[in-house]
């Protein structure tokens, strides 16, 4: 999957998620794997709804965590690549 600024990432529908003190636990029933996301990754995960671009998610992250847009963009790209590697994103 090519991940660039214009991508509108979307999380797979059939994942089971639970929020624990702001951090998400994500259970992939298909792969029988569990993933734990830290606060910022959980925030990004929740924005990956197929309508928001990487740039737009980065802007939200920068606002929410009071960090620079450059840093936010870097974090979103890393997180979304990680979601893709873990098989949590819908493929095109």
């Amino acid at each position: 999957m090519k991940i660039d600024h214009s991508l509108t990432p979307q999380i797979k529908q059939d994942l089971l998620t639970r929020s624990v003190e702001g951090e998400l636990l994500v259970f992939d029933n298909e792969e029988t794997e569990i993933h734990q996301l830290n606060l910022s990754a959980s925030f990004i995960f929740n924005k990956c709804n197929g309508t928001l671009s990487i740039d737009s998610i980065a802007q939200s992250l920068a606002d929410e965590f009071d960090i620079s847009l450059d840093k936010a963009l870097q974090d979103v790209l890393i997180a979304v690549r990680s979601f893709a590697d873990k098989g949590l994103l819908l493929e095109d």
Binding site: L16, R18, V20, E23, L25, N29, I34, Q36, L37
Partner: protein, 278 residues
């Protein structure tokens, strides 16, 4: 016809395990490994029954037969212990689905239990051995069955099983050495009974650190680790694949990443931390 003198009976997690074995050497091995859980008075019918015998075609082979199961054929004592215990503990998990079984060591210190969670072969038993020689009591080095309602842990008093000679503290004379493993019988260990768990340590052995490090981790990280190390989590949640139970248990325990190198220093650090937990 079963000779009662050839029978050993164990009570494990309130389940009765009966082993029929006419071979005195193997009975002696079973006694060394599981003797702390042996009972002499069988008050209820057997939940699991094993028959152990030599192969008629090859006298070096040992056959483990469980009523309702397939025969297991083993070629030496180490393999016999491994396969017998694996089969028995899987059956015990089926008999006690109410308990959450974690692949973990468990110890007690000053009335509080702690879990040491780590992948196989990465130091649970060696760390347990060091801790037992540093003031901790032994619940298990391998299997931690948790009563989720009371958050207490049931002891699994099998002989502590090491993969190699530990770097600290001399092994007792009654230690059993096999081709694969080293077993320290429970009569050489200070034993703890069922007790409430207070903390969980996720152990990582690291060569290139100066001192052991104990780092608090989040409930979510602990829940994910507990989930991954549970043996029967799916029995604990029809609707959420057991996620809720992992979170419930994790939220009641102080959780730490334990980066260990020096065993004696590690024990001291864990004792200090356990003293600070109510």
């Amino acid at each position: 016809m079963i000779n009662n003198q050839h029978q050993i009976i164990f009570s494990i997690f309130k389940c009765i395990v009966v082993v029929n074995c006419a071979l005195p050497d193997l009975r002696a091995v079973l006694f060394k490994i599981f003797g702390a859980m042996q009972i002499t008075d069988q008050s209820k019918p057997a939940d699991i029954t094993f028959h152990i015998k030599c192969s008629t075609s090859n006298s070096n082979q040992i056959i483990i037969s469980r009523e309702g199961g397939n025969d297991l054929i083993t070629n030496d004592i180490g393999e016999f212990i491994f396969l017998f215990e694996k089969d028995m503990t899987i059956e015990l998990q089926k008999l006690r689905p109410d308990l959450l079984f974690i692949h973990s060591a468990a110890l007690e210190y000053k009335g509080k239990a702690l879990l040491i969670v780590a992948p196989s072969g990465t130091g649970k038993s060696t760390t347990s051995w060091a801790m037992i020689n540093s003031g901790f009591k032994y619940l298990s080095d391998e299997l931690a069955p948790i009563d989720i309602n009371s958050m207490s842990i049931h002891p699994y008093h099998h002989a502590l099983c090491l993969k190699s000679e530990p770097p600290v503290f001399k092994l007792p004379e009654n230690t059993l050495f096999t081709s694969q493993t080293i077993h320290v019988p429970c009569d050489s260990l200070p034993l703890a009974e069922s007790i409430k768990i207070k903390a969980v340590f996720y152990l990582e052995y690291i060569d290139n650190i100066i001192e052991p490090e104990i780092i608090p981790i989040s409930t979510a990280e602990s829940a994910a680790n507990l989930y991954a190390n549970s043996l029967n989590i799916l029995a604990h949640g029809e609707n959420d694949s057991g996620l809720g139970v992992a979170i419930t248990v994790a939220s009641q325990l102080d959780a730490y990443k334990l980066k260990s190198n020096d065993l004696e220093k590690t024990c001291s650090e864990v004792k200090l931390l356990m003293d600070s937990i109510n």
